[in-house]
Amino acid sequence: MSTIALETRAEPDVRALVTPEGVDLRVRLAAVSERGIALIIDLCIIVGVLIALTLAAISVLSETSFKDSSEVAQIIWLLGFFLLRNFYFTLFECGSRAATPGKRLMGLRVVARDGAALTADAVVARNAMRELELYLPMIFLISRGEEVEAWIILSGIVWCGIFVLFPLFNRDRLRAGDLIAGTWVLKTPKQTLLPDLTSDSRAPDGLFAFSLAQLDVYGVKELQVLESVLRTADAAAMAAVAERIRTKIDWNKPASETDQEFLSAYYASLRRRLEQRLLFGVRKRDKHDRT
């Protein structure tokens, strides 16, 4: 059954994730832009913590005359810098949410491509590659040696270009680290359960009695467009859609009828009709489908 559902929504960023129970969860890949923003948020956090750490170290250094405590401050700074640079991403992605704070804010998480549990070594491998993909280009940007030869600069640019742009040039938007670790980054939206559109009080059936001919004009695709129009509840859009449907099905509009009422009633009737046919194994995909 689910294969029927699949072919109606073949979207480029949807991937199959089949659970051991045999159900395809149809997960979505994170967009490159979302991952970019998540990364920027994470970098801001890292830099923020580093600045705080530095300020704290400086204040300790300047205030205390004990040699020991200044030593401790230096050690903490050095270790802090190292840990942040190398293990910020790793530690957060090893947690139960498999996401750094930036990714969490963007509703993303790291997932093993084969659908199995995400292991710590995969996370380590994926983040060790950041050295090449992120820090090397950054060091390259910051350092501007004047005696560097042109060919070194050129090869540096090519090198950085390959790694930084890697996610743009493959189907699954993997960066080099994802490739090595067998992971990918997916969206995990927090979807709220919206009310069913047919559940609120409806006009009495006598008012809106559509004939089968009037209902068989449209298919599932149109029904779902209608659903989104009703959920958005934009007056202008509803008026335009209602007008088109009335023309298409030759509906005589009584004076008292509002667009909202008409569309809700038509949605309910159409859905009832299509779901009935679905139970008999007929799925009318869209208005061109003549099954």
Binding site: T19, I75, L132, I180, L193, E275
Partner: protein
């Protein structure tokens, strides 16, 4: 007869259990899984399977897109929770040191051998070059790394650098930390560079060997070979091994991408990468120990014999730990 839609009735019957699952997941994600009671813990898999079957039914019978989207998101969240790794940190650390790390290192023996040979080749080359013409020295060892250990320095100065630090004990902690972070960075770099078909990793390993060989040449020319070896290997056994292992893990990745064998290139890279990840965690631990040995032990211990003993002991310990036989896991790569 009830005039509500069949799909709406379906939804009303099951809605409560979906919401219950949602609440439990939110609680488990917000805090930790331990904040749930045993009953709640046991309820999650059952509720997850119920939601999953709801999703299958909804896909086949309901045309409410919002409902299907909700169930897909809910099931995915629950799936990651139910099938995610569920071992405590303690268990993970235990199994890492008891099995995973030595096992992964063992599987890398070919690459480890290759990385060691590359380092050795670099060291011998640099040794011969510097012995023949001391001007080569500056090509292999940067001035800040040399820190006064130059071909032009007097024998006494050179000898002094090997035993310095014993009288000024302050700052050792900072020094050890600096060495650790610096070396760990190099090791991570050697690993990551393997991705580019082994070449950059090999170059980094060879360069690492060159610096060692060049310094050795300078000290050997003054008859300080044994003393220098003691100075280097007290921590160098651990540190060199760590860098060699990191390079070996990198070599494995580059090699599997270039020659994937029967696997696809992606699969081969993935397998090598995960194995390398395990090795890398251990490498950082090793470098931490090396940093301690270099920063503290070397500065505090000035007896050659003792330095040699420690070097030999660490070497034997690592060899026994990584390569002793039978660990009751199969050794297929």
């Amino acid at each position: 007869m009830d005039n509500t839609l069949r799909s709406l009735r379906f939804r009303r019957e099951r809605e409560d259990s979906w919401r219950q699952l949602e609440t439990l997941l939110a609680q488990a994600e917000r805090r930790s899984a331990t904040s749930l009671s045993d009953d709640e813990m046991l309820a999650i898999p059952a509720l997850y399977r119920a939601a999953l079957s709801s999703l299958s039914v909804a896909r086949a019978t309901s045309l409410d897109q919002a409902l299907i989207d909700y169930l897909e998101a809910l099931c995915a969240r629950a799936y990651f929770f139910v099938y995610g790794a569920r071992s405590s940190l303690r268990e993970r650390v235990d199994s890492f040191f008891a099995r995973d790390w030595p096992h992964a290192v063992k599987l890398l023996w070919r690459e480890t051998l290759a990385a060691a040979l590359i380092t050795l080749a670099g060291a011998i080359t640099a040794f011969m070059l510097v012995s023949a013409d001391p001007d080569w020295y500056s090509a292999f060892v940067s001035p800040e790394m040399a820190n006064g250990r130059e071909p032009a320095a007097s024998t006494e100065t050179l000898r002094a650098t090997l035993y310095a630090g014993a009288d000024e004990k302050s700052g050792l902690g900072v020094f050890a930390t600096f060495l650790f972070t610096h070396n760990a960075q190099i090791a991570i770099f050697a690993f990551a560079l393997g991705f580019a078909f082994c070449l950059p990793s090999s170059m980094l390993l060879a360069y690492n060997g060159c610096a060692l060989g060049a310094m050795f040449a300078v000290f050997a020319a003054r008859g300080l070979a044994l003393e220098f070896a003691g100075w280097v290997f007290i921590h160098g056994v651990t540190e060199l091994l760590a860098v060699i292992l990191a390079g070996a893990a990198g070599l494995r990745i580059g090699w599997s991408i270039a020659f994937p064998g029967t696997l696809s290139r992606m699969q081969a890279a993935e397998r090598a990468g995960r194995q390398g990840g395990v090795v890398m965690v251990g490498v950082v631990v090793m470098l931490f120990m090396a940093g301690l040995l270099e920063g503290f032990a070397r500065q505090l211990i000035t007896s050659d014999a003792l330095r040699w003993t420690i070097a030999a002991a660490t070497g034997a310990a690592w060899a026994a730990y990584f390569y002793r036989g039978d660990r009751s896991v199969d050794d297929r790569p």
